[in-house]
């Protein structure tokens, strides 16, 4: 009775505030019509911290309007965080594709999903993206053993947080083989045409090679995660329209701090991890280039403040 009375009192208080009538429908419709393409903002995202095996994207000239650069102690650029040039490359937001979400949800951990969506596949593109579903481990030692990557864990955690689970994404079979992908793409296009469906999904096997690690730390219903992966080259492309980015210095190291519109706060830091060879297929032939490899850490959370994220990052740097 008392509870109901309390709610009624508060409801009465809300009802005593008489707001003016507004109608934003014209403004909204006008804005939609003037912006032209529906769902024009698309971005590549990491789903369950999946690192997609993007194969042999046909080389194009990227001209980004905004670029943030971080450098190492020798003033060498180690990261160029930049937006996509949408004239040259229109990324596909898998988070916004409900059919993909459904297929991915049903996928067995350790497998990958090859997903083809006719409405977003660029014409004459020979690239295909695969989405491995991570395998979850609760033993951090096992995560280290299976990953074969010598990664650091934060040496200090915010009060109340403990390691909860590690998610490992494994490389899809044939991820670097252009011929396999070309054949696969052709089969998917044919299947889409035959069935009349806009999208086709195919389950794919993975190898034992880990391409992505996600360490999840929890404090009751709050969490943060540390995403770890090896990146080749300095350029990291993303949709910048929904985020604010700044370069900050922590313990003499430059790192990126990012705030996304969806509530995520993120810190990105990098360390040199040797060199590797990148194979590209462009204009009908293969080219190879030796590039720097970086071990990239992204500390991501909706619950931690900027200050706490920086502390976690410091714990990785030190």
């Amino acid at each position: 009775m008392k509870n109901l009375q309390l709610t009624d009192e508060i409801k009465l208080a809300f009802e005593s505030v008489k707001l003016p009538e507004i109608d934003v429908s014209d403004a909204v419709i006008d804005s939609i019509r003037s912006s032209g393409v529906r769902c024009s903002k698309r971005k590549i995202r990491l789903v369950y911290t999946v690192l997609a095996a993007v194969l042999l994207i046909t080389a194009t000239a990227y001209t980004a309007a905004r670029i943030w650069v971080i450098r190492d102690s020798n003033n060498n650029i180690i990261l160029r965080y930049r937006g996509f040039d949408e004239e040259n490359y229109e990324p596909f937001d898998i988070c916004e594709d409900s059919e993909f979400q459904k297929q991915y949800e049903n996928l067995e951990p350790g497998k990958a999903l090859v997903y083809y969506n006719a409405s977003v596949q660029k014409p004459n593109s020979e690239s295909l993206t695969m989405y491995p579903k991570p395998v979850v481990y609760t033993d951090l030692d096992l995560v280290r053993e299976k990953s074969c990557i010598d990664f650091k864990v934060p040496s200090a955690l915010p009060v109340g947080y403990t390691f909860s689970e590690g998610r490992l994404s494994f490389e899809p079979v044939g991820a670097k083989d252009h011929e396999i992908f070309k054949e696969l793409l052709k089969k998917l296009e044919e299947e889409a045409e035959k069935t009349g469906k806009n999208s086709v999904a195919l389950e794919w096997e993975t190898t034992s090679k880990v391409t992505g690690i996600s360490l999840v730390y929890r404090n009751n219903d709050r969490e943060f995660r540390v995403d770890i992966s090896v990146w080749l080259g300095e350029d990291l492309y993303t949709d910048l329209s929904d985020s604010s980015v700044e370069v900050i210095t922590v313990d003499d190291r430059e790192i990126l701090y990012i705030e996304e519109n969806d509530g995520d706060r993120k810190i990105i830091l990098r360390e040199m991890y040797g060199k590797d060879t990148v194979k590209r297929f462009e204009k009908g032939k293969y080219t190879e280039e030796v590039v720097n490899a970086y071990l990239q850490y992204s500390v991501v959370s909706k619950d931690l403040s900027k200050e706490d994220l920086i502390l976690v990052a410091q714990g990785i740097i030190r």
């Binding site: 709610t7 208080a13 005593s16 008489k18 003016p20 934003v24």
Partner: protein, 188 residues
């Protein structure tokens, strides 16, 4: 399939005009929510417009059969929190009171009594999430599960937040009432 679902199907096929019906159906409740989160009519109106534009852009994300209003509130919540974070502080903006001279913007005025003003002050003392939980539960009569889905929390957590928020608002309002009573008896 209800009328909202039908409209959404049309919208997904490209009908911007169908979206007008959606905006007109939900704008009042979203506006109320944004107003209580942001504190001014002008900011709330801008926020409502942005929320509906974002919702249109993400319409393919909406899963048929789930609550459209919950999905919309998720977008509204994230938008308001982001706006408040960028604003860096929550400022209590006095309502336009009795005369037009008191208003910065003579176009809009918010009619409210003393209780309404105390409510705004009490709400401003709550964290964003707790404020959202209280509003969605009291004004929109959403279930704990629906609110949990909007905030990405567990239903049990939402229930606790609601109880806490409700008590806090009541306590704060009672304190303010206490101040007013004391002033009446102040000795010159």
């Amino acid at each position: 399939m209800d009328s909202v679902e039908k409209a959404i199907e049309e919208i997904k096929r490209g009908s911007a005009e169908e979206y007008r019906h959606i905006v007109q159906k939900y704008q009042k409740s979203v506006f109320k929510y944004c107003y209580h989160m942001l504190g001014t009519v002008e900011e709330a109106e801008d926020a409502v417009q942005e929320v509906f534009i974002k919702a249109f852009r993400k319409i393919d994300c909406y899963k048929e059969g789930t609550s459209f209003s919950s999905w919309l509130y998720k977008i509204a919540y994230n938008h308001c929190v982001d706006y408040l974070r960028k604003r860096k502080f929550f400022r209590f903006v006095p309502f336009c009171e009795n005369t037009a001279d008191d208003c910065d913007n003579p176009v809009y005025s918010v009619e409210t009594d003393e209780l309404g003003q105390m409510l705004q002050r009490a709400l401003s003392m709550l964290p964003h999430e707790d404020r959202t939980v209280l509003m969605l539960r009291v004004l929109e009569e959403k279930s704990y599960e629906e609110i949990a889905d909007i905030l990405g929390k567990r239903a049990a957590t939402v229930r606790k937040k609601y109880e806490r928020a409700r008590k806090k608002v009541k306590q704060n309002i009672d304190k303010m009432k206490g101040v007013i009573v004391n002033e009446k008896f102040a000795v010159n």
